[in-house]
């Protein structure tokens, strides 16, 4: 059964089979979280920046249709062709159609989690169009035929030795080479060649400005620039929630994004794309894919504020110890766990339970999404919709009935303690998941209630 399930707990179980690897994964991400702390604690205005960003996003979401129309008008006026996609399928069709129209069968892509969400690469591959991801981490997972395990650090789960093996197999480095400098140089040469020979480039969008119709793409490697500037057709895919009203707001978001993501003061490249250069075509695909449905769900609306910094993943003690792939969705970690059930409640019913509700995610979030509260709310929704295990429901009903009645509670408590005391093997066995890695509590002779009753009696006597 191992490895075949799509449940977070089972996938995390597999990940945890190699404890040293879990330690390494945890420490690597904790290092990033610590860098984020240093970067944010140095800014006196950090908490007010978060507040402003949250309010700007709130305002934008509350007036989303107005801003989308404004953005479309401005973009068209700038000479950009605007497309609308209701869902992933429509997005993929639009991109594919644009490429086929120009007879293009090879495209370079900068990192875009939206295209991961839409499974664009597979869609295009099935139609004979090759896509090369140009973000280094994304290229590595692409070579490994995996999904990114993190939205900012797509191959954070891979060690340099494993990357060396992949490069040896696909890019011709020497066997056993794991020197980061050599591997990076190899990737650089390989991607240079790709940039120079592709006529089409697709980029994601970090922020789209309604006022000007421009969009901003943030990369640390400059790969979005390289792709877009050398191509004759630039396609930008964006979720409709990426809008901000004015250019002036960018200052707030650009300061928050990278500090939260990696602890850098600002991304190496914040590239503004406004109009196509002469002879180039520029297209923007505005994708809904469930976003308007989430907007209509009051409890989960705030999740659309997300600017995809990944801070919630780095801080999440569960993510650090279960790995991004255990979330079996393009966007992993706490934020993914509240976005995924919106797309498919049945497939992703396990994700809101992959959390201890410790609340750290909500407090690192640069736009103040109440992530852990939404996880709690999703649990209620999913149970009500019937997407939970029947055995769990039965156990919960029994538990609720016992705990609602003082008499039943007293009896059950006594029986439980007696069982633990006199027949511990009834609970200390392999069927008890607690006992697998932990000892059970030792039962006292008396409950507090019993002790209190006897003390009261003595006092009265």
């Amino acid at each position: 059964m191992r490895g075949t399930s799509k449940r977070h707990a089972d996938l995390a179980d597999v990940f945890n089979a190699d404890e040293a690897r879990v330690d390494w994964h945890d420490e690597t991400l904790w290092f990033v979280r610590t860098k984020r702390d240093r970067a944010t604690h140095g800014l006196e205005e950090w908490e007010s920046l978060r507040e402003v960003a949250s309010e700007v996003k709130h305002h934008t979401l509350a007036n989303l249709s107005t801003y989308l129309e404004e953005f479309e008008q401005q973009a068209i006026a700038n000479g950009v062709q605007v497309h609308w996609a209701t869902d992933a399928a429509e997005h993929n069709e639009i991109v594919c159609h644009l490429l086929q129209k120009h007879g293009i069968d090879r495209m370079v892509k900068s990192k875009s989690m939206l295209t991961e969400e839409c499974h664009l690469n597979d869609y295009l591959a099935d139609r004979g169009i090759e896509v090369i991801d140009s973000d280094l981490g994304e290229r590595i997972v692409q070579l490994a035929k995996e999904m990114p395990s993190h939205i900012v650090l797509p191959c954070i789960h891979k060690k340099k030795e494993e990357i060396g093996d992949l490069f040896h197999e696909h890019l011709g480095t020497e066997a056993g080479e794991s020197d980061p400098q050599i591997l990076t140089e190899t990737a650089r040469q390989h991607l240079r060649d790709t940039f120079l020979t592709r006529r089409a480039a697709l980029t994601g969008v970090n922020f789209a400005v309604a006022e000007t119709g421009e969009m901003v793409v943030c990369t640390n490697e400059g790969n979005a620039d390289m792709g877009a500037h050398l191509s004759s057709i630039h396609i930008a895919s964006m979720g409709i929630e990426k809008l901000i009203p004015k250019r002036a707001h960018l200052g707030v978001f650009l300061r928050l994004l990278t500090r939260s993501a990696t602890g850098q003061p600002i991304t190496t490249y914040s590239s503004h794309f406004k109009r196509p250069r002469e002879g180039q075509e520029m297209h923007i695909v505005l994708v809904d894919n469930g976003r308007s449905r989430q907007l209509a769900r009051e409890d989960f609306r705030n999740s659309l504020k997300c600017i995809r910094c990944g801070a919630c993943m780095n801080t999440c003690p569960v993510y650090r110890r279960s790995g991004g792939h255990s979330y079996h969705y393009a966007i992993s970690g706490p934020i993914g766990s509240i976005l995924a059930p919106n797309l498919d409640m049945k497939d992703f019913a396990d994700l809101p339970f992959a959390s201890t509700l410790c609340g750290s995610c909500s407090n690192v979030c640069p736009v103040k999404i109440d992530i852990h509260n939404q996880l709690y709310k999703w649990r209620q929704e999913l149970v009500k919709a019937g997407y939970t295990d029947k055995k769990k429901t039965a156990a919960m009903k029994l538990m609720a009935a016992t705990l609602s009645s003082p008499a039943k509670f007293k009896l059950a408590g006594k029986l439980g303690r007696l069982t633990l005391r006199y027949i511990p093997f009834a609970v200390n066995n392999g069927l008890n998941p607690w006992y697998k890695g932990r000892e059970m509590p030792s039962p006292p002779k008396q409950s507090f209630g019993e002790w209190y009753a006897s003390r009261k009696k003595e006092g009265e006597g």
Binding site: N16, E44, S404, E439, W451
Partner: protein, 245 residues
Amino acid sequence: MEVALFVPCYVDQFYPQVAQASLELLERLGVRVVYPEGQTCCGQPMANSGYEHLTGGCNENFIRHFDGYEYIVSPSGSCVLHLKEHLSSDKNKQQAVAIRPRIYELTEFLTDVLQVEELEARFPYKVGMHQSCHGQRGLKLSQMSELTAPMFSKPGKLLHMVKDIELVTLDRGDECCGFGGTFCVAEEAVSVKMGKDRVADHLRHDAEYITGADMSCLMHMEGVLKRAKSKTKVIHIAEILNSSI
């Protein structure tokens, strides 16, 4: 002053000494403590598992036993947070609304209401303090490392009043222990790993005891410590504040 003591179900059954210490401590500080008999559970185990709709019986039972008290105090941050956020009733709406803000976690009651500035307690050991998430981030008993705000800690302040105690500094001040209610069995592998890592931080700094304001986290870490046959023990903060070794 009169206080109603709420003893969470698992504390009642497995850790009566924690409730006894809470009761004695409050009495020593001049508070009259009432323990409404017949109380059971706050409903959190069901609610956090997605079954908040099954907590009606627990809510009614809680309201029946605690309605009318000015202060309700409990030695468990997560149960207190659950009640503060979710105690509700269709039958007794007014009572439920009135009770919510009257519920206090023990250490916040000591620092904020009783405004305790000194304690007659002695505990000559090296102690690591576990910041339980629901108490820390939910009830704001301590500042959290994620926010850029001045540090404070209500349980920490109280522990500093204890004679001869040596508090150790942890590498990760506010990492979750991995208990998480039913998470501890539903996500057994990750939960155990989190527990082991949390305990290891305390052990690395030679803690003889791990303390905290939420017995559920301590129960989890106790299970991990015992499995590893460690000499380090867990002890609820009420027991330390009430001790005079």
